[in-house]
Symmetry: C2
């Protein structure tokens, strides 16, 4: 693998990250942190709450995984809610011969089903009919999970332990938001320790 051509794609099946925002946000054990302005619920990140502001965010798994990927040439943030625009950027990169690495956010340090299924969907769309594309075993396994659940994101979330933990913690409405495929036409990228919109529209 040529690191100069390496892309890292960070995938959190359940996380909705908006690109521009404010103040302190995050969670520990799924709950908003004392003294913070926002938790981790996508429903809190309204236009009123975040427009024109910078959000400082900390979560149990996702933000650490993103920070760990900062050595890569490009770091994208993908989920079901922005699936198609992210998949389009990845597909263009794959056609140029880029190496794509997917990092799953996980849940409490463990494998999370919805992350892997979302990666499988991205892998399928990014590499379909791309000559010379090869998948490692983990990517092949992720594709199988996507094939199992297909577009039935609700059944996926009913099966996944993280989603069920959120529902039990009172965040069932978040799951509805997270299961809305392509709700947001944005491609967030991680640059200089900030998540911003992808700069070059020509890449999409």
């Amino acid at each position: 693998s040529n690191t100069d051509r390496s892309w890292i794609i960070f995938v959190a099946g359940l996380v909705v990250l908006l690109p521009v925002a404010l103040a302190l946000a995050g969670e520990r054990r799924m709950r908003m942190i004392d003294g913070f302005d926002l938790g981790n619920s996508p429903l809190e990140f309204t236009r009123d709450a975040v427009e024109g502001r910078t959000v400082l965010m900390t979560t149990t798994n996702g933000t650490g995984a993103i920070a760990a990927a900062q050595g890569a040439k490009e770091v994208l943030v993908g989920a079901y809610v922005n699936f198609s625009p992210v998949a389009a950027v990845l597909r263009a990169a794959a056609r140029r011969g880029a190496d794509l690495t997917f990092i799953c956010a996980g849940h409490e340090g463990q494998f999370a089903l919805e992350d892997a299924a979302c990666v499988g969907r991205l892998v399928r769309h990014a590499t379909r009919r791309v000559a010379g594309a090869t998948l490692n075993d983990a990517a092949l396994a992720a594709v199988q999970l996507d094939r199992k659940f297909g577009d039935d994101l609700w059944r996926l979330f009913e099966t996944a332990s993280h989603a069920q933990a959120l529902a039990n913690a009172g965040f069932a409405a978040d799951l509805v938001a997270c299961a809305t495929l392509d709700a947001h036409q944005v491609v967030p990228v991680y640059q200089d320790r900030q998540i911003v919109r992808l700069a070059a529209p020509a890449e999409a």
Copy 2:
């Protein structure tokens, strides 16, 4: 989870480990180590080569994973070649309410498809109709991989990168041995830094 009830099950889809043997064995980058008596090929571990002897074994992934599991109450070594006897012991443990943890050997530090598929098969057999059995997301994903490949171990090995690497390195005959379901009716356990046959037949 009650650690007193915890079992660790180590799974290497491709490894055949015989319980009693001799001298130095192992591999680095799939090749026998200079000065060693045996490599990692199951076909070298004949009765003549190992009967009545103790084998000191080192491999890139498997032996380290087994050593890391030594704090558990019981550590079993499972693969397709001894699937049914290991599954029977696990099923008895699951019925007694034991926690089962599966560790995949992997290949060069990476996820290996055949390990996860073998775990999925063990999980299915160990927990079927066991009241109160719950699976975490990784176990659910492993079950999906087993469902995908079913009994067609040859297709699984044709897909898995580790198996293909072994075939390319001249060990295609090993794959035939590793794809032989239930070739060995043994339950190897790891105790006091040795892999031996399970002592108590009443447990099977």
